[in-house]
Subunit: 424 residues, 2 copies
């Protein structure tokens, strides 16, 4: 087998392959042999114990070598990862990858290459790191119907939101702390703007609904606009704000929505207790009911654990002359636009405290067919605030209502708007 | 395929096979056909929609019929389930079973029959119902080392302990409520004495440590002795009492312990929040770190979901002419006796409040090499109570210490002893 990339994850894969060589051989039924490691630069000092001649900068030559039957890709990013994986798969090799961005952008091309070459494409490490999640979704739940997936799938943003919740810190301060501790990158865009979570949401939705989904189809909002006041006000009401990846089937089962955005969830919800950089995915299936999978979503060793689990599986498959589950897109359901997604909203309005204000606000909600669950007035006089939580409505109706509120003369400002999930 | 048993789980399996016939066929690549259902009594009114001629009381004939390639067993118990499964497997059929008692008593015989016939033996539903747990353990973590498994795997006892914790009820009252609500059987022995959990612990330990384990090797204590006072005193100290199935590798990795007993866990532990009849299994692996799997551990539809997931897998394997993972016992580690298990203890002593009492108690702990973490004296005079939490020590040393305490003249009574888990 060959390894593409020798960074944080790759070096852990090598370490574990050494340390557990005996166990892996027993579990597979044959020993694993590392035949080459593709790196960008030769001669760099690396914290791994392998013969220097195994390193090569010619990844293309490595993935087409005849003596290699399995390729592990942990480079990340779209190119050259895509070309290398496609070349390996087309050439009949099996591939284990942790590359969520590539799978979410062009998974179909990878599966196609795997079918051509009759090899395996496994990618457990691509979503929620060490948590066994994709295998359960595509195998254990193969006899069930997934209604909804609610996931905390990005450790960086969960760390930031958890700090804001427990210490009252601002987004900027919490981000800075996350960067100092290595939980966030110098350029945190992919995490805080939800791109990373959106790629994972696309992969989860594809498996859950047996349909093809790309990251471009995922509605995406990040957490940069969340203020300490939003977090405190959620706390007051018994909620906590989390960045969620949500896949939800429509009521008629003919389409589904996929979205990533911050949302308020009740503190009693199992996801509310997911602290620091941990990940957790909550799955609601028709027969199985509510399930939750919890663990470390990132890091060298946890991700390497998932990669090695896949490696054992594809190696066993090769020995048995068989393949694991292929892409399953038979349902071919449509992704419905965000406007058709049914959700609920928490909205805080700065209003003038005078008679008739509530009536005019309520009238606007009614006009858009949005039913109000609770209203609370806080403060009075010039500082009066209306806090409203709606019943379920389409996102389009909720957005139109928020638009209308902003134009209402008696509304000084729409202080915050946040979707509410997990309490229906 | 054939179904053995048409009770709570079996009838849900039939219902779901009907309702999801199209999906199952698409996921497998071929339609499933139910060729027979073995029942104890013919002609009984059943809540399933199948042709009456499919029912038979001759299960033995059914499992050897040539036109049947997959057998689902949901009868439970040792016989006739064992003979039927062995006959089916030896005859080359694949078997899906939810039978934890049989697997924990004689799993080796079933695996042997599966090898002879080259069929599959799948049993995801046997532990923690709908929660995908066995597949993650034996496949996703195949490249990792499991250090410890802490599981709430019996819904009945979790319901009872949760009621005692939230309402202050006695064991008897909580049991009665559980019986009224259908969470406990009229004869609750298998649940409250830990037999059910012990069978599951044996299955989990076997998979986690790649060794053969039977229920007889599991140290087992039930929850019938737990008093409302124990529960309240745990609560005071920030703990909650749960019946845990624990599989833990020794520090040198050469053996492991398997046990089922009530234990105090900190309220901050992810398992502490598992309410009512839910199940959850907490796994600590060397590379993956802490993982938790949560969901419904019993019930017709959840168990049927797990059975159908396995059914899809074995059907796919048959179409591909391959087999799923075989029994993995290569590590062949020994189960060490309970006395060698390392754990911690919480003990409450009724003592006389006079000088020198603590010194004599402390001396006894020291004599047995048990180090004390905290001591708290409550009350005074005749009602004085010493509450001691130890550091980690072998169960043998802890037991000898408790024995010694009972014989100490200054100790009026050992009011409660409870192991402490999950905070190291």
């Amino acid at each position: 087998m060959a390894l593409l990339g020798c960074g944080v994850v790759g070096s852990q894969v090598i370490r574990l392959m050494h340390e557990q060589a005996g166990d892996l051989a027993a579990r597979i039924g044959a020993p694993l042999e590392l035949a080459g490691v593709a790196v960008r630069r030769q001669g760099r000092k690396r914290d791994v114990d392998i013969a220097p001649e195994l390193f090569t900068t010619d990844a293309e030559a490595l993935v087409t070598r005849d003596d290699i039957d399995i390729v592990i890709e942990v480079i990340g990013g779209i190119e050259p990862a895509r070309s290398l994986i496609v070349a390996a798969l087309s050439g009949g090799k099996s591939v284990v990858t942790a590359n969520k961005a590539l799978l979410a952008e062009d998974g179909a091309a990878l599966y196609e290459a795997a079918r051509q070459g009759s090899g395996d494409l496994y990618f457990e490490a691509s979503v929620a790191g060490a948590i066994p999640l994709l295998r359960p979704l595509r195998e254990s739940l193969a006899g069930d119907h997934v209604k909804r997936v609610l996931g905390i799938v990005n450790g960086t943003t969960n760390y930031i939101l958890d700090k804001m919740d427990t210490t009252g810190a601002s987004f900027t301060d919490a981000l800075e702390e996350a960067q100092t501790l290595g939980y966030a990158e110098a350029d945190p865009t992919a995490d805080v703007e939800g791109f990373d979570a959106a790629a994972k949401a696309a992969i989860l939705a594809g498996l859950a609904y047996h349909s093809r989904v790309t990251a471009a189809e995922v509605h995406r909002e990040g957490i940069t606009e969340i203020t300490a006041t939003d977090v405190a006000s959620a706390k007051d009401m018994g909620y906590v704000i989390k960045l969620l990846a949500i896949c939800a089937r429509s009521d008629d089962g003919r389409s589904f929505g996929v979205r990533v955005h911050p949302a308020m969830i009740p503190r009693s919800h199992p996801l509310a207790g997911v602290r620091e950089a941990y990940n957790a995915v909550f799955v609601e299936a028709e027969s199985a009911g509510q399930l939750m999978f919890y663990g470390k979503g990132a890091g060298g060793a946890p991700t390497a654990s998932a990669v090695l689990g896949d490696l054992v599986a594809v190696a066993r498959n090769r020995l048995a002359g068989t393949r694991g589950p292929d892409e399953s897109t038979y349902a071919d359901l449509a992704v419905h636009p965000m406007g058709e997604t049914v959700t609920r909203c928490h909205v805080a309005l700065d209003v003038a405290d005078k008679p008739g204000v509530l009536a005019r606000v309520a009238e606007l909600f009614a006009k858009h067919d949005v039913s109000i669950q609770t209203v609370r007035q806080e403060g009075h006089g010039d500082d009066a605030q209306l806090v409203i939580v709606t019943h379920r409505a389409t996102d389009a109706a909720l957005s139109a209502t928020m638009e209308g509120l902003r134009e209402l003369d008696i509304v000084r400002a729409v202080a915050s708007v946040m979707r509410v999930e997990g309490d229906d």
